[in-house]
Amino acid sequence: MQDIAGVLVNSVISAALYATMAYGLAVIYGVMRIINLAHAGLMMLGAYATFSLFTRFGLDPFLSLLVVGPLFFLFGVVLYRLVVRRLPRSGATPSMESLLLLFGVWLVLQNFAYFIWTGDTQSILTAYTMKSVAVLGVRVGVPSLFVFAGSVLSLVFLNVVLKTTYLGKAIRAVTQNRDAALLAGVDADSISAVAFGLGTAFAGVAGGMLSTLYAFTPDFGRSFLLKAFCIIVLGGMESVTGVAAGALVLAFLENGLSAWTTLPTSFQDAVSFTLLFVTLVAFPQGLPGLFARLRTAFR
């Protein structure tokens, strides 16, 4: 039985990671109006990339994020140039073609992982995996703390890029009014490539961090994609605060239910699904509401 402080500390830590996952989706949706269903597969691939860097080269999983991030950015750009850009442009809501295509990419990534790493369950065991420290009187695993730090750094990095660079402002401009961005001289195709790269990098980094907390197989990532959807439906993506709020609510419910009820841990994934379901039913606008919120990401 955990006390309220324990649940809160753990919620804040999970929420930062969840927000990192959700932002990866939102950058891509904002610029291209497509839902990146391959996000889950990219997170899985990020976990395996971190795993391989760890087992082959002995690279610490958190240091390897500095490799995984840029590498996945490039992978995302290539994926965009070879595959995603061929899609017809989505209108206000994602086209069926984009959903099918990216679902297909997810399947390809899964099979690629089965081929390279087999279906065996893998995990990363470092010297500090089992260590814990006290935070506000709560014992927290050292990997969880590193994940929190990595997530906060990623989110700060993204916001600095979006707010201060011409590239970041161009991403926000395309998100908020695409025609106006074109008229200002923004090359929407290059910006889409960058946005897809950023979203992919965020998936890879999130996956790399997840690999230090959970065991994984090529099927890994599905439940986390659902969590990201849930956060978007809950808090919207209008602002950092919205994402943080959505991520916190989900993380708090998950941690609270597992601490204060006899709900088995294996049911934790059902929390986000139930929450997603309830929110969608309670919000009469349903999925269009989700899309409307995604559309206003980064405003």
């Binding site: 401009a173 025609d179 106006a180 008229l183 200002a184």
Partner: protein
């Protein structure tokens, strides 16, 4: 010197033709206005010139180069800048961010600070609103911000689509005063405006569009006294 030559332009939305065989010219330093009723094809013409629509046929020669069908971002970099109908600001960016993004083309960045100063001198209200989100501005302020954003790109050809639409008479005067100031700085302008008296008072020459076709052309002073223009477009308002 001839800056823009539009020749036999045809623009379609799917199967529907909105602009038919439209031709006109604009000289360097000139203000040319396109007038016509709602749905005549004025916005479509400007959107095609700015590269947001690809013309099905016709030529657009800008500064000696054939540019029809080039993408909007390339045309913006070459100095063709459209201030679109309905402002089209980035609502969740601040006024300053909107203006600074106007200077996105590489050639415009070096002098961005100086131009920004001139814009604030022209529209002092914008300087007081710099950190406000553009979506929260009043209609008049949004229009000034949109014009300012267009100027930040240091246009060689400024295309203005109904800059006075939906503004109070007082603000209409203010916007036209700013257009006069812009013109005085030697910027070439193509102006689309429903407020025909104001437009003709500003312009050197005018073209009248009806259902996608140019039906009448002349100097602004000729058209001001033309009976067809008087009956069709000068029935309201005064200069």
């Amino acid at each position: 010197m001839r800056l823009l030559t539009v020749e036999s332009l045809d623009v379609f939305y799917g199967d529907v033709q909105a602009v038919r065989n439209v031709s006109f010219t604009v000289d360097e330093g000139e203000v040319v206005t396109l007038i016509g009723a709602n749905g005549a094809g004025k916005s479509t013409t400007l959107r095609a010139l700015a590269g947001l629509l690809v013309p099905r046929a016709g030529r657009v020669v800008f500064d000696g180069q054939e540019l029809a069908g080039r993408p909007a971002n390339e045309l913006a970099s070459r100095g063709i800048v459209l201030v679109p109908e309905g402002r089209q600001l980035w609502p969740a960016m601040t006024v300053l961010e909107n203006l600074r993004m106007g200077a996105y083309p590489k050639h415009a960045r070096a002098r961005a600070d100086a131009i920004l100063g001139e814009i604030f001198a022209m529209f002092p209200i914008l300087e007081r609103r710099v950190s406000q989100k553009a979506g929260t501005l009043s209609g008049g302020e949004q229009q000034m911000c949109a014009i300012g954003r267009g100027l930040m790109a240091q246009p060689r050809l400024l295309l203005l689509d109904e800059p006075a639409l939906g503004l109070s008479p007082l603000l209409v005067r203010e916007v036209f005063a700013s257009l006069r100031a812009i013109r005085a700085r030697g910027v070439t302008i193509v102006l689309v405006e429903q407020n025909v008296p104001h437009a003709l008072a500003l312009a050197d020459r005018a073209y009248v569009l009806e259902t996608g076709r140019v039906t009448l052309t002349g100097t602004a002073s000729e058209l001001l006294v033309d009976s067809r223009v008087r009956d069709g477009y000068l029935g309201y308002g005064s200069v």
